[in-house]
């Protein structure tokens, strides 16, 4: 994995008391914020596109500290990107640029790029997938957004769709996985971060006992993945879009073992670092003097200029 990539949780903590004097506090609309905290009080997640547009600059400002930043690339969900292209006013792309430039006066250039398809660009450049194997279906599963796109062998986008708050990692953990745990255990946390830890470690700590939860994990995936796949294929069928290969990228790739997939079509699931593929693709799409931010609803991935 590229050493120049990092991530923090996409959380905003509204500060109070003496904390507002902290050096890392970022001011916005009369409040002071700190980003990336996962425990404590007054923590908010970004929830929708409006939040992305309004609050992304807080993450950028916090991460670059006081460095005068001139050029950045930032991501938005695939569908929002390509539908913006069709709008006269530039849609979310222009709103994001305007918000960043207004709140970071040193900014001279802002490139807005599409999540998911940027990841495919990186995978092709790295020879991890071959466009000649046919149209590429990309399932970019994030915290609460799944970006779906189909790209042809020249890189032309044939289809995009983004599913919000239905089939993301958050839903897998808090609905499907938690439901399975509840069958055996009376009290199960609703905290997505704790559920993530239990899921990935495959065991739950119950005081004097540690219990293996592999079966619950498998059952959660057995319910969740068919729903995700069915949703994807149903939409593609409706639009009569075909694909010759597929890739899972984004945080969801940590939850899918390639060995449980059997397909006659070539496919790719990264074994590690799946959440950074969009960021790496973005870095390849812009010049070296850009700072790059892939702003997701779960994590903000970032890489500073070379």
């Amino acid at each position: 994995m590229n050493e120049n990539v990092n991530k923090i949780a996409s959380t905003l903590t509204k500060l109070s008391g003496d904390e507002i004097l902290a050096e890392d506090a970022i001011e916005f609309e009369g409040f002071k914020y700190r980003v990336g905290e996962t425990s404590g009080s007054n923590i908010d997640y970004m929830y929708d596109l409006k939040d992305l547009v309004n609050y992304s600059h807080i993450f950028v400002r916090s991460l670059i500290k006081n460095r005068p930043i001139k050029k950045i690339a930032i991501s938005i969900p695939t569908e929002a990107y390509y539908s913006s292209k069709l709008k006269e006013d530039g849609g979310i792309i222009e709103k994001m640029k305007e918000s960043l430039k207004r709140n970071i006066p040193t900014l001279e250039k802002v490139r807005v790029l599409p999540q998911g398809t940027a990841a495919v660009s990186h995978l092709v450049m790295q020879n991890m997938i071959n466009p000649k194997d046919g149209n590429i279906l990309v399932i970019d599963g994030g915290f609460n957004t799944v970006n779906i796109s189909v790209t042809n062998e020249a890189g032309k986008i044939l289809y995009t769709n983004s599913i919000h708050d239905e089939l993301g990692v958050y839903n897998l953990l808090t609905e499907y996985f938690r439901e399975e745990l509840k069958r055996k255990h009376d009290e199960v946390t609703t905290n997505a971060q704790m559920l993530k830890e239990i899921f990935l470690k495959e065991k739950i700590d119950l005081g004097f006992n540690t219990v293996n939860i592999i079966r619950e994990k498998e059952q959660a995936l057995a319910t969740f993945l068919p729903k995700l796949i069915e949703r994807v294929t149903r939409e593609l069928k409706k639009k009569k879009i075909e694909f010759g290969q597929f890739v899972f990228v984004g945080g969801i790739s940590y939850y899918i073992d390639k060995n449980i997939i059997s397909s006659s079509k070539p496919f790719f699931i990264p074994e590690e670092g799946g959440e950074f593929l969009t960021l790496l693709g973005m870095k390849e799409m812009v010049d070296d003097d850009y700072d790059v931010f892939d702003v997701g609803f779960g994590d903000v991935k970032y890489s500073f200029k070379e």
Partner: protein, 106 residues
């Protein structure tokens, strides 16, 4: 006769629904076993394939009737089934750059 179920084949979804129903009343391993053996489905699902199939509605190789001999052999991967490993070797063996002519439309 083998049927290749693909992602866009609705029968794959039907099989998963069937599997899901069985899971509700039985343990998962038992459900897989039952599905693998259940001739009323008019398919031979195969234990290994059922195991693979448990998580995703993707390609599953099935046979239309219970095989008369060596059912385990029926569960082997078909020759044309590509996984990430074979895909990787495809890319490296040919020595061709997959990148030629590919540029994401922005």
């Amino acid at each position: 006769m083998k049927i290749q179920l693909t992602l866009d084949n609705p029968k794959a979804i039907a099989i998963y629904n069937l599997l899901e129903k069985k899971i509700k009343s039985k343990s998962f391993e038992k459900a897989l076993f039952l599905l693998a053996q259940d001739s009323s489905n008019e398919i031979y699902f195969g234990y290994e394939n059922a195991k693979k199939a448990k998580a995703v509605a993707m390609d599953v190789v099935i046979t239309e009737a219970l095989p008369e001999t060596e059912p385990q052999q029926k569960t082997d991967k078909p020759d044309n089934e590509k996984t990430i490993d074979s895909q990787k070797s495809d890319n490296t063996d040919t020595g061709t750059k997959a990148t030629s002519g590919f540029k994401i439309e922005l």
